[in-house]
Structure formats: C-alpha cells, structure tokens
C-alpha cells in the first residue's frame, strides 16, 4: 500500500499538472514539460533497476531507444496506432531486457556495468549503421499521437498520465513484498539466497521491468517529438539520466522525479546565457553530490524536515 504522503503527492502533482497548461501559454515551456515527462519516466524506471535492485546498468537509455524505434517504425511502416506503440515499445524493451537479464545473471559488480555498456554501444552502433531501417544518424521521423487543434495539449496530458502511473507503480513496488525482494538482492544477495528468495528471478525481474518502462518512455518521446535519432542512446544521455537519479537520491521514491525536474527546468532556464556550460555544471553537481551528500536532495530534505519521511533510507 502507498503511504499517505505519497497519495497526497500524487494528487498534488495531478492538480499542478492539470493547472499548468492554464497558466503557461508559451509553447517552449510546454515542450520543456514534456521533455521533463520523458526524463522522469526514464529516471523513475532507472531507479527501479539501479536504486531498488542495485544493478548498475549502463544501457538504460538504449532500452528507451529500442522502445522508441520499435514504436516509430511500426507506426510508420505498418500503420499501427502510436498508442499501441507505447505498449509494443515497452514490450519489446522488456523482452530484450529479459534476454539480456538472463545473460547478466552470471556477472556481478563492475563486470555487469561493462556488459551492459557493451550492449548499449552495440545498440548505438546498429542504429547508426542500419540506415535502411532506422534512418541512420539523421533519425527516423515518426507520426505524432494526435492531429489537429489541441494536439499539443492532449500529448501533454498523455505524458502527465504516464508519469503519474509510473510514479504510482514505483511507489507501490517500493512498499510491496516484491520491492522487499528487490532490496534484498541489492543489499546482500547471499543473505537473500539463504532466506529463500529466488534471487535469479528477482534480478531479471528488476532489470526487465525497469527496462520495459524505459521502452515506454522512448515510445512517448518518439511520438511527441516526431523524431527519434541515435543520440538518445548515447553515453551523454546515460550520464544525464544517471546524474538526475544521483542528484535526486538513489533508491528513494521522490528523488528521481526531483532530480529530473531540477535538471530539465534549470537547463531550460540557463539555456539563454549558458547553454554550453549546462552539462559542465551538471557534471560538477554530480561530482560534488557523490563527494559530499551521497543521498542527494532526499538526504538534504530528510535532515531538514522533522520526522520520518520517504520511508526506508536508501
């Protein structure tokens, strides 16, 4: 069951998200908010893989790209509806996640990092090379969710709904028995095995579940942006997602959302006068966070606010 403050937060976000289009009339900020939705889908799902299950995956954005390309290509070539694409993109990413997850069961620690990184680079390479199918480095133009007047608003609402759903799923998982299994895999895999947890299953589950949601995020991105290109599977993107989670707080419920909000909104705000500095500033923020406050925003909040908040410490 979700805690009360989480239900409050969910309702608050719903109200804020519904009110935002009324007060914001600049299309730039509406697009920025949709980019924020894309990143928060990625960060919350990455939090399930890395924060909950403790698997340091370096190919999370590649699953996003897999979902995005699957959905875009199906919609363009086979004429499927983009809404079905959200589902199919997620399924494709999840299936590949299961296969890769079965392989990476064998390796632990930093070897896991290397195998997933290798996978991500191969995906990147394939996307760039097979230009007959994927459009190469130029990208692949995909149809949008809605046509006609108000399309932007509907796409925005769809993104809002997806993020709230993702948040609710992550929060439910956090407090459930399944979540406990994932935490036990993260914290002490040998002890978990001794207690009768089928760690092999939960490792694959955590990995594939997070990856499937990344696929949904990619499909959303493909159809709201109208273009998927290989840069969304690059190492820089992975760095961005990783730093959002780290700045927000690894393994917490609100952390990834806050990190994504902070990074996306701030980089839009400083775009005018410091566009070329933005990634530099965020990399510096990441280094300082790891060096001084490893819990990120959530740790700062937890020390400032009285009483237990955010549940179990990460």
């Amino acid at each position: 069951m979700m805690k009360r403050h989480e239900i409050t937060a969910l309702a608050g976000m719903l109200v804020l998200g519904l009110l935002a289009p009324v007060f914001i009339d600049s299309p730039v900020w509406m697009t920025t908010l949709q980019i924020f939705f894309y990143y928060s889908l990625l960060t919350i799902s990455y939090n399930i893989v890395f924060g909950y299950t403790g698997l340091f995956s370096f190919c999370h954005v590649s699953f996003g790209a897999i979902g995005g390309y699957t959905s875009a290509i199906l919609a363009e070539k086979a004429g499927l509806s983009p809404f079905l694409g959200l589902l199919l993109g997620g399924l494709a990413a999840g299936l590949i996640g299961i296969v890769l997850g079965l392989f990476i069961l064998r390796v632990r620690g930093f070897y896991l990092c290397l195998v997933t990184w290798a996978f991500g680079m191969v995906v990147d390479n394939v996307l760039k090379t097979e230009h007959k199918i994927t459009g190469g480095t130029g990208g692949f133009i995909s149809p949008s969710f809605f046509e006609g007047p108000g399309a932007d608003l509907y796409t925005y609402l769809l993104g809002l709904g997806l993020v709230l759903l993702m948040f609710a799923v992550a929060a439910l998982l956090y407090h459930s028995r399944w979540g406990l299994y994932l935490f036990s895999v993260r914290d002490d895999i040998d002890a978990a095995e001794t207690m009768g947890v089928v760690t092999r299953f939960w490792k694959v589950f955590g990995f594939a579940f997070g990856s499937a949601w990344a696929g949904v995020a990619g499909a959303y991105y493909a159809h709201f942006f109208g273009l998927v290109d290989p840069s969304i599977a690059g190492l820089d993107e992975m760095g961005k997602v990783c730093l959002m989670v780290v700045i927000g707080g690894i393994g917490t419920i609100y952390g990834p959302l806050m990190g994504a909000f902070f990074v996306v909104i701030l980089s839009e705000m400083i775009r005018g006068w410091a566009a070329e500095f933005s990634l530099l500033i965020f990399a510096l923020a990441m280094i300082l966070t790891v060096r001084f406050v490893r819990g990120g925003f959530m740790e700062i909040l937890r020390t400032l606010l009285p009483g237990p908040r955010g549940g179990r410490p990460a």
Binding site: L114, V115, A118
Partner: protein, 288 residues
C-alpha cells in the same frame, strides 16, 4: 594486404595494451574502475599538441611532458575526489566511485570543449617518413606509436617486478590488509599508482595524436578498448594485456576490412561481452 592489416593492427593493439595496463594497475592497487580513463588519453593528446605547437618541443620531449602533466592531474583527482570515497567506510564504495568517475568523464569532456574548442586538431607528424617492414609501407607515426607503446609497457613491467614500489603495488593487489601490516603506506601508493595509470593513458593519447587527430570527444573509443583489453587478457597479467591488445587490434583491422568498417567498434564489444560471460577470468588471468 593481409600482412599490412596485421602489422597495422599490431601497432594499434600495442597502444590499446598501454591503455588497458593503466586501468589494470588502477584496479589492482585501488580496487576502483575508472570511467574517465579515456579522458586522460584525450588530455594527454592535447598536452602533447600544445607542447609541440606552443612551446616548440620536439616529439621526444612532448610525450614525456604530456605524461608528467597528466600524472599530477591524476594524482590530484585521486587525492581530492576518489580516495575520500573509497577508503571511508560507506555502503557500496564501488558504485559511488563508478558514478564519480562517470561524472568526471562528462566534466572533462565539457571542460575540454570549452578550453580547447570543439574543433579537430592534429599535431605535426612525429616522424615524417615512411618505413618498409616486410615489404609493407607504414607511416612513421604508426611505427613510432607501436614502438613507444611497447617500450613503455616493457619499462613498466620491469618497474613492477624489480623495484620496491612495484613490489608494494603487487602486494596491495594481492592483499590490502597484508600490505598494510607489512608497512606499505596505502594512501601514498594509491595516488602514485593513480597518477601513473593516468600518465600511461596520456602516453597512449600522445603517441597516436597525429594518426587519429584530437577532439574533446576522442576519449570514448579508447576507454572502450582498454576495458576490452582487460576483459580479454584478464586482470593481473601484463603479458596477457599485451597479447589481448594485439588480438583486439588485429581482429578490429581485419574485421573492419573484411566484414564492415561501420561495425569496427562493435567487434571489440562483442568480444568483450563473450569473454565476460563465458570466461570472466580472461585468457591468462587467475580464477576470480
């Protein structure tokens, strides 16, 4: 043609081995994985470039200069950022150092774009002459890259097996508490080893700078290559790394020519994944 590709691959493979050995040293002494290794390669290349163009140093002074500067940069990074994390008793120090070096990767890349500019740069050829080996024509820079890499690897092997400091590093690799009991100052050896590893990467970057040209994003592929060398050769064996580097270099050049040049980088990744999954100790490493 086949012979030419093999010789070319061998020269490049020795450079890969140089990168991989630096990473291996870091893993052995500090038990960390450095994702910013490729950025030190990039910085080494730029330092060699600037010491040749601004200071008018000849190449045999420019390469050591790049190594020395990067040595101190690496030592500084270790002192300020890495050792506070990985020596303190925190949960999962490995994960946090990984994130830290990943942050360093992004940081150095952006900083280089600001400081050095986003353009491609190319230092003057080190040896503006062609060589003929076994009837194959090779550029002087290529021959020099292979020879210098082989020389540095050999010197490092002698250093590790013959001096007291090398003995201390081997002791730390085998057992950290054991080395501490025997009187090795782990803190000091850590920063020296980290600096040395970065200097090795810088040497690799400096010797191949005229062949591959320089840009702030040039550090990505060599980083991948050095991990591939580690995965194929196994941890803890310099000879294994050299063999792995040469195998990788030759496999890549042959694959790029006979299969598809677009999948050049994927070949190494597939090799690495296969080795990690089915023979995690590598070709020559001990069972972990």
């Amino acid at each position: 043609m086949f012979l030419e590709l093999v010789i070319r691959g061998t020269a490049i493979g020795l450079v890969y081995a140089l990168m991989g050995i630096g990473l291996m040293l870091l893993h052995g002494v500090m038990r960390i994985i450095n994702f910013a290794h490729g950025e030190f390669y990039m910085i080494g290349g730029y330092m060699a470039y600037y010491s040749m163009t601004l200071l008018n140093l000849p190449f045999y002074l420019a390469i050591p200069a790049a190594m020395i500067i990067t040595f101190f940069l690496g030592a500084l990074v270790e002192k300020l950022l890495l050792s506070p994390i990985h020596t303190k008793k925190i949960e999962k120090p490995m994960d946090y150092t990984l994130i830290m070096t990943f942050g360093l990767l992004l940081f150095f890349r952006q900083l280089a774009t600001l400081v050095f500019g986003p353009f491609f740069r190319k230092p003057p050829d080190y040896l503006p002459a062609d060589f003929h080996i076994l009837g194959v024509k090779l550029s002087g820079s290529m021959v020099l890259a292979g020879l210098v890499s082989a020389l540095i690897v050999f010197a490092l092997a002698v250093f590790i097996h013959r001096t007291w400091r090398g003995r201390a590093w081997r002791a730390i690799t085998q057992s950290n508490p054991g080395a501490r009991i025997s009187g090795v100052d782990i803190g000091r050896e850590s920063w020296i080893a980290c600096g040395t590893a970065c200097a090795l990467a810088a040497a690799a970057g400096a010797v191949v700078a005229p062949i591959f040209t320089l840009s702030p994003h040039v550090g990505g592929p060599p980083l991948a290559k050095s991990y591939e060398v580690l995965a194929i050769g196994g941890l803890g064996s310099i000879a294994g790394s050299v063999v792995a580097g040469v195998i990788l270099g030759v496999a890549e050049t042959l694959g790029a020519f006979y299969i598809s040049s677009a999948y050049r980088d994927a070949i190494g990744f597939v090799l690495m994944a296969i080795f990690l999954l089915f023979r995690p100790q590598g070709l020559f490493g001990q069972k972990v």
